[in-house]
Amino acid sequence: MIDTNKVWTLSLSVFLACIAFLWLPSVAFASEPVRVWFSHIEAENETLRAIAREFTSETGIPVEIISRRSVFDAPADLVNNAELSDRPDVIFMQAPDIGGLVASGYLLPLKIGQDLRGRFAEVAFTAFSYQGNVYGIGYSVDTSGLVYNKALIAPSDLPKTWEDFFETACALTKTNAEKKVIQYGARLNPKDMWFNYPIIREYGGYYYGTLPNGSYNAYDIGLDCQSMLGYVERMKCAMNENLTISNPNHTESHISHDFACGKVAMILYGLWNAQIYQNMGVDYGIAPLPRHRDGSVSRPLSTVQGFVINRFSLQPEAAWAFLNYMSRDENQQRLIESGNRGPQKTGERNPANIAVMSSTYIQSDEILSSLCQIGKQSEPFPNIPEGPIWYNYTPTAFRTIFFGDQKEREVDPEQHLCMLADRIRADVAAMNERADPLLLPDWLWVWVLCAFSGGVGLWLFIRRKRPRSRYRERPSKKETLLAWLLLTPLILLVAFFYLYPIGHNVYLSLTDYSGINLRDYRVVGLTNYRYLFTAQIAGLVSLTLWTIGFAVSVIGLSFLLATLFATLLERIRFSLSRVYRVIFILPWVIPAVITLLMWQGLLETEGGLVNQLLGAFGLPAVPWLSHPIWARVSVVLVMTWFSFPYFMVIVQGLLKTIPQSFYDVARIEGANAYRVFTGITLPWVFRAMLPMLIMGLVMQFNQFGVYLLTQGGPAGDTLGAPGATDLLITYVFNTAFNTKRYALAASYSVIIFLFVGGLALGTMILRKAATRA
């Protein structure tokens, strides 16, 4: 009996060790400091730390500066951490992100005094204003302007008005004898809404309209007004004059690349690639945009980054005092200088503080001072939660308007702009919708619970009656106890990290948790499920079919390829096969995020490495990711590329288990290599790998990698309909996340889990039955 005791002791100690490991006490601070979440630039963090030390020695309030990964994570991380014991007090974030946070009550309204207001550009506060309150102080203004090549256009010749801009650009565009453009006066991206926004304004379009009280009216979309047709006409004209990109798949980075090569005189862009222009020997400058027709200033859109205060801060006064301290002119100066990496003057931080703007550090640099000027007059991007909805549709809509639809037919711009505006309005409405709760009466819950437990009980009862002959012996009580004890650590951990999230997700799916209601969400019952089953998901059937087709193709192809190549590797010398194996394994060990991005670049129709290779063999270019059918082919091939190495390694070993006698019989019967492969190898490997294949298939249903590769595109002609490569899961999540309806997303995940899990369970049971028979 000692043996069992030993195992007991062992498993108990493992269990206790696990518990102890999980509940190690966390380190606590002696006195709670003001916590500041700041930058990803360490030099800037160090400067703020020095400022904090001075603040502490003056006031005695300790301050901790925490360096952060990226300003994009700030809103989500704030929501998670806002009420924890080491919650942040002052947070550096982007103004456009504050809408949802304010609506959910995460930010503290600030009382900006006259002195403070006077020392910063107006944009520093307007960007952080929401429904009449100011929630932050701007620090840096990220914006764009007229970037020009001094070798091609002198600063004094820069266009004064937008009309002038197009004329000047036309005059600077040069073609060679074969009518090929060798120099562009300007290069615009007609699909873009951000950089072209000032031109849209020139023609009367606008972003969200404003209410008399100054706050945005999210239902007022400035895209379907008559005057927008003027913009469309102007852009189409510019297209004919070679002032835009000619390939509908190209983006700003292609424009920036052309500029870096010295082929373009003017672009509407920021200074993100300035280092590269410099390296490539382009003498560039940045100037304010041409003025509007009426002589008023064209204001580019900007993202203001600044500091906000956590509403749940335990020491809001101290946080506010420190925020004021760091907003002093001399401290802003130090911060901006270190943010721009001192003498390097990278332009990463564009000051909002007026004293810094007029300092010699900025004024002695032509680029930085010009950028300041532009930033001061920029239009902050709407900070309402509905702000980013536009970008889900504008690229596709403008692409269709300017480059034609899927079949490359021209479309009616007016009709299409109306469709775009309607689509945005529909999403705005969906985001703000407060559906009536669909609560089931309590007795029904009790009833369901009773029926469920009754059913389980009945099932267990029937099972007990069945003979247990398939076990060699009845499981003993002792062994059962021991087994469950040994499995306790795994079960506990699975419960914490799988069961709890699933349960919590089910709970969230019953609430009205959303991007504008992140905190005080309430249970609304089955509302989300009602929506889910009544909302017409466009093309749900074809979406499901494609998802299944995708999963089956990827796993089937991986399996075939893996078996084929494993067999081939058997037939060559071992020393050589080792080298191949080393190469084939690569896709498995390198993070998929990186390789997916690389595939995206490789598969570009123009200039992508794959088409260049095909071209070298005299083959025509293939629209890998831009044609609906080719995109599906590419997606299947790329995902197969990811999953075949793992399969191949397994098949390699399986081949060694095939009894030699099989091959001998085949040889006697005179079967050729192909027959042996299809008749012996494939079936054997398939049978042995079936459980793995099933699991692999199921996992493909949750494949988010596809989204990284194609963003679900190419999009169809109907805005908001699934793109050609959207899978069920990526599509439904996008529709829910675009409008920040997180509870809806949770209910989707529950339904898909049940669907896919049921599918998997069914297959497992069927397989079990088949093997038993």
């Binding site: 963090n45 991380d77 590269i276 699975v494 191949y580 288990t657």
Partner: protein, 276 residues
Amino acid sequence: MKRKERLRAGVIHFLLILLAIVTLTPFVHIALIAFGENVVGTGVAVPRSFTLRHFSLLLSETHFLRWMLNSFLIAVATVGVAVVLVSISVYALSRLRFYGREHLFRAILLIQVFPLTLAMVSIFRIFAAMGLLNRMAGLIVVNAVLASTGLILVAKGYFDTIPMDIDEAAKIDGASRLTILWKINLPLAKPMMMIVAIQSFVIAYNEYVLSSTVMTQGLDRMPLAVGLQSMIVGQYGTNWSLYCAGAIIGSAPMLIIFYSLQKYFIGGLTEGSVKS
């Protein structure tokens, strides 16, 4: 006959080389961007000149080596936890006959169907409740859970192939369960343990979504994947060359480990998937 043989070998090598090219192309692309001078985006043509500048920038301007060390430590610890977890769990699932065995095994498999990446809010809550935020221990535990549940199918398949007769013979000789597990089962399952070890290393070393949610403070405390992502500073401002240079150095330890242990790894995987 000889000619036919040669032709066949030629065809085989042609196919293998073709696949090798397809496999390597993205890595060539990564290298082109990492070593290339003045690369603007990921899709823009072959660079004209090459440089090592991005590698030196990476080492001087970022916490790159620290990130690599963090990831390495997390991965090694994950391997330890996962190996223990998998071996005791699989021992129970494969060697002991008990009530609910089949259902439990199925449940563990099925529960993985749920896409955890979508439940980050819930994961964060559980981390906060356990006091695991911003601590390596949290990442180690959760990575170990992900790895063990993912590997339990392969591991059980392998354990099932070790004949029960050996256990029974040992039992008759008076060996305790612990002795059998420690002295007989585990040594026989060594190749399987190697897979568990290496696969959990890969999972932990590359993990991104979870780590980025629960590691919110301090650039120098980030694991590699999260640190690298901090170079993607926006739609337009990303320095792809730096990012790719990071990916190249970052994957080096994994490749070294993989290649040096390849023998055990491949031997283990293969037999694990064979069902009796």
